[in-house]
Symmetry: C2
Subunit: 253 residues, 2 copies
DNA sequence: CGAATGTTTGAAGGTGATCAAATGGGGTGG
DNA sequence: CCACCCCATTTGATCACCTTCAAACATTCG
């Protein structure tokens, strides 16, 4: 609604550890084992590097909007994003939250127009990968193409998991699954699996999980009282990760 | 549950019109403007054709199962499929329904293992596209690669629509959106947009839409009483498509 | 410090689920 | 061809989970 203006101000983004620090090239970027360049030889990585532009996106700023012409994919270098779809009634549905090393914009290739809005949840930095030039590299670097296909496929798989979550999980299970998912993604990046910040509002969480903000609040409180979590505003500590995983998997009781 | 045995018996599959008849090659297949070969020149289509195997899948038979090793993509030639995910508790979530010209198996590329079960809703026929050989063609036929990327992207977009449906639509709106979606897909294939068969059970529909079978039944009855539909078992006539679309879009009242 | 926004908590209500039973169709075997 | 059985579907009554509405409280940011 009230889109704050988007001057690119200073960044105040301090990860809990300094694992996977992003420098100004794929080779020096701590994320290249997760991100698009995964598995590339040094020389190929440099070729990819040459077509990539890097820039900052301030908090609450759009990386792209629904209907924007598709020209490039984006990799999150630093920070977090959310993607959501809005309809004519103003209803929104958050489709996902993206963190460093994750790719955005793949839904736009089919129509040459972005199908989502992407907004930075905090001051962030992205790598812009012009798609036409990427396609040229596909011809020359088979490994790159293969890995790109994997990434697209994994995005399909990720969305299927969201469908499962929304289609047949109860509210408490959804929250648990959401937190377990965040936990494992942070862990994969060298951060703590047990302590992290929720970069999104309760409203975003609720929207993503198909719940109201009140339900999210109540359920997080319940998980805290049940001894699975410690919560201080957006600071989260998972006290009993196995129990949370059982809850998420529906194998509790 | 009760998986009927899968002898490949005779097919009794009569489309409402004879549009998009499938013959034994891409060139002669009425679907090549929708399917993977879209936009290919005749010579390239023949090259693609050579790597494709065709076979029948009897009703209730699996095309593939969760965990199966990924070797090929599949295009529906004749018939209908459903894909669903099952977890350890036996819970299922239908991810989608696929009809002729649509591609299955793209979720398996990321892990080399299928992430869904795919089952024929009726006696069906599929084109098997060995992925390793398809990758070889990608190098030689840029148009094919570009179109393949479009298809994957559209699958991402399709799943996003399901997320929106499950995440913030009321039950009646979900049913309406589901029927409008089927209608437009049949229309795109040269069939009637107003009259078609529901190839899946009410249970499948309910599972897909995150509703119980009873809710599906009640809501279809309601739409019938409201004069939007005529229903005779699985035979469906959309009497007021614009109204159904308004309902699906949430722009009614 | 004050306003705006985000979050928590409480009470009441509604949508869709659950439980239960009747109805109808399709397939199979006699 | 018919009778039967099984399964899918419909319909009804009750219930529960989550939403809605409301208000207090906390936090962030200018």
């Amino acid at each position: 609604m009230n889109q704050s203006y988007c001057s690119e101000t200073s960044l105040s983004n301090s990860p809990l550890s300094n694992a996977h620090v992003a420098h100004n090239s794929c080779s020096s970027c701590g994320l290249h084992q997760l991100c698009l360049p995964m598995g590339l030889e040094e020389s190929d990585m440099q070729r990819l590097d040459k077509i990539i532009g890097r820039r900052k996106v301030a908090r609450d700023c759009h990386l792209y909007r629904i209907g924007d012409r598709f020209t490039a994919l984006y990799a999150v270098r630093v920070g977090h994003f959310k993607t959501y779809r809005a309809n004519l009634n103003g209803d929104r549905q958050v489709i996902g939250f993206q963190m460093n090393g994750e790719l955005l914009g793949m839904d736009a290739i089919g129509t040459d127009q972005h199908q989502c809005d992407a907004i930075a949840l905090e001051d962030s930095e992205i790598c812009e990968i012009p798609f036409a030039r990427l396609e040229e590299l596909f011809v020359e670097i088979p490994t790159l193409l293969r890995h790109y296909h994997r990434i697209m496929s994994q995005e399909i798989t990720r969305e299927q998991s969201v469908i499962v979550l929304l289609g047949n999980m109860r509210a408490e299970q959804r929250i648990a699954a959401f937190l377990v998912n965040l936990s494992s993604r942070y862990f994969a990046r060298g951060y703590s699996a047990n302590r992290f910040l929720l970069r999104m509002t309760r409203e975003d969480i609720g929207n993503y999980l198909g719940l109201t903000i009140e339900s999210v609040s109540r359920l997080i409180t319940k998980l805290r009282k049940d001894g699975l979590l410690k919560v201080n505003n957006r600071e989260l500590e998972v006290v009993d990760l196995p129990a949370l995983k059982r809850l998420a998997a529906g194998t509790d009781q």
